[in-house]
């Protein structure tokens, strides 16, 4: 489903990704962990081209892209890739001027050209799936953080993506609201959604991941099944990081 090879990204002189390779099978969950500044969010954002990689290749679903410094991808290719991915942001980024329902129908109507009725029906179904059937007509400002993030998940799912990307989806939430969002993500995993999740929650990572990668300074320093990465890390950098978390 996803194959990334030799991905590089720099901001000016600062190299954020220094050659990242990864593969992910359909229906699997990949969790990316690592200290802040390790490049995990940048890697995730490269998967839907919110960040444009400088070098390397990316294959995702039916789209296959090669990045070269100085050459710009055609807009059509970028849009094509984005249509196969859904993204959930740390800060939700719901559209504040639209109700929960309209947040979910907007792109269905403008991007996928669905009829309003169909889009609304789909949106209501998704709201029900995330436990917010009764909040359809609420504006984001009247929803809690956990509720907003669940609407954001429904909004991304409405586009029927091949892969869902989660960028620290619970980091901006009050502790008591984290559980309701994790529950929805676990539910998606159980339904066989292909997902890439950046998170700081190690217990959640261990529970939901099929494969874990640990990044540090723009490189993957450890990867494997969650049990191996968490309990039997091979690299010293991974041991260090996990020890630090254990304290």
């Amino acid at each position: 489903m996803i194959r990334v090879q030799g991905l590089h990204k720099s901001y000016g002189m600062q190299q954020v990704l220094k050659g990242v390779d990864l593969t992910l099978q359909k229906g699997k969950v990949l969790v990316i962990i690592g200290p802040s500044g390790s490049g995990k969010t940048t890697l995730l954002r490269c998967l839907n081209l919110l960040e444009m990689p400088d070098k390397g290749s990316l294959q995702l679903g039916s789209v296959s892209l090669i990045f070269q410094e100085g050459s710009k991808l055609p807009t059509k290719e970028v849009l094509n890739l984005r249509k196969q991915t859904g993204m959930v942001f740390q800060s939700f980024n719901l559209f504040p001027h639209l109700t929960a329902l309209r947040n979910i129908t907007e792109a269905q109507i403008t991007v996928q050209r669905r009829r309003r009725n169909d889009a609304e029906q789909r949106a209501r179904q998704l709201l029900e799936n995330v436990g917010l059937a009764d909040k359809a007509d609420f504006y984001p400002s009247n929803l809690s953080g956990g509720q907003q993030q669940r609407v954001a998940i429904a909004r991304a799912m409405a586009m029927e993506p091949e892969v869902m990307l989660f960028d620290e989806p619970t980091s901006a939430l009050d502790p008591e609201l984290v559980g309701e969002v994790l529950k929805v993500i676990k539910q998606l995993a159980a339904e066989g959604m292909t997902m890439v999740i950046v998170t700081h929650l190690m217990r959640f990572a261990a529970e939901v991941a099929d494969h874990v990668i640990l990044m540090d300074e723009g490189l993957i320093v450890e990867e494997g099944p969650p049990h191996d990465v968490f309990h039997n890390p091979k690299s010293s950098r991974a041991q260090q990081f996990l020890n630090m978390l254990a304290e």
């Binding site: 839907n48 984005r82 993204m87 942001f89 559209f95 001027h97 403008t110 991007v111 400002s141 586009m159």
Partner: protein, 222 residues
């Protein structure tokens, strides 16, 4: 105050108010509507267009903001005929005020668009929207709310500035007052009365601005 003065005030009130309602207000509305359209186009050009177009838009804003409105009106009405372009008072006034609202308004619109957080664009992009779709469906509707208070001010200023059209022979409310003064020799009374009617208009507009803000603000406080 003499009986004659009271008579002049009461006799002139309706003609002045009428001139306000049928000349000042329409001139303001037409100029404002056209000006806002121009402001949005100018703002979009300055934000997103091809470099030379950005430069032209910047030049336009620079010229209009850097010269007095009265001088601009004189150039349009008295100046252009010498190059063979004669424009009637009403269209000349509309052109002048539209250019002015367009220039000041474009900065308001531009600032509002810039104020929308980057995350809104990213969310729209992540859903597969193009730049234009994200702008039209997500960013501009939010930016529009931000522009309401400053554009409300622009409109109130415009209503008062239309009195400048008197100088290019357009008979709006202030010109009407001047004409009555020419007959009655009561400048203090008549200009005071005109000022009062402008004040009335401004007050009504401020109230409208507040209700619009409250109505639109309901869903956007986050």
């Amino acid at each position: 105050m003499s009986e004659r003065q009271i008579q002049i005030i009461t006799d002139s009130f309706w003609p002045l108010l009428k001139a306000g309602v049928i000349y000042t207000i329409p001139l303001s509305l037409v100029s404002f509507a056209l000006g806002i359209a121009l402001a949005v186009v100018t703002a979009m050009v300055r934000l997103y267009a091809w470099e030379p177009l950005k430069w032209i838009a910047g030049f336009y804003v620079w010229i209009i903001r850097g010269t007095p409105l009265l001088v601009q009106l004189f150039i349009i009405f008295y100046g252009l005929p010498s190059v063979g372009l004669t424009i009637d008072p009403f269209p000349a006034a509309v052109i002048g005020f539209t250019l002015s609202v367009g220039a000041y308004g474009s900065e308001i619109v531009r600032a509002a668009v810039i104020s929308i957080p980057r995350g809104q664009w990213e969310a729209a992009y992540s859903l597969g929207m193009t730049h234009i779709q994200a702008l039209r469906r997500i960013v501009l509707p939010q930016a529009a709310r931000v522009t309401i208070p400053p554009l409300g001010n622009t409109f109130i200023s415009l209503v008062k500035d239309t009195s400048l059209a008197a100088a290019i022979t357009y008979v709006e409310m202030f010109r009407q007052a001047q004409q009555i003064v020419a007959r009655t020799y009561e400048p203090l009374l008549l200009y005071g009365e005109a000022a009062l009617i402008y004040l009335m208009f401004s007050t009504i507009l401020s109230a409208l601005q507040n209700t619009t803000e409250n109505r639109l603000g309901r869903s956007s406080i986050s």
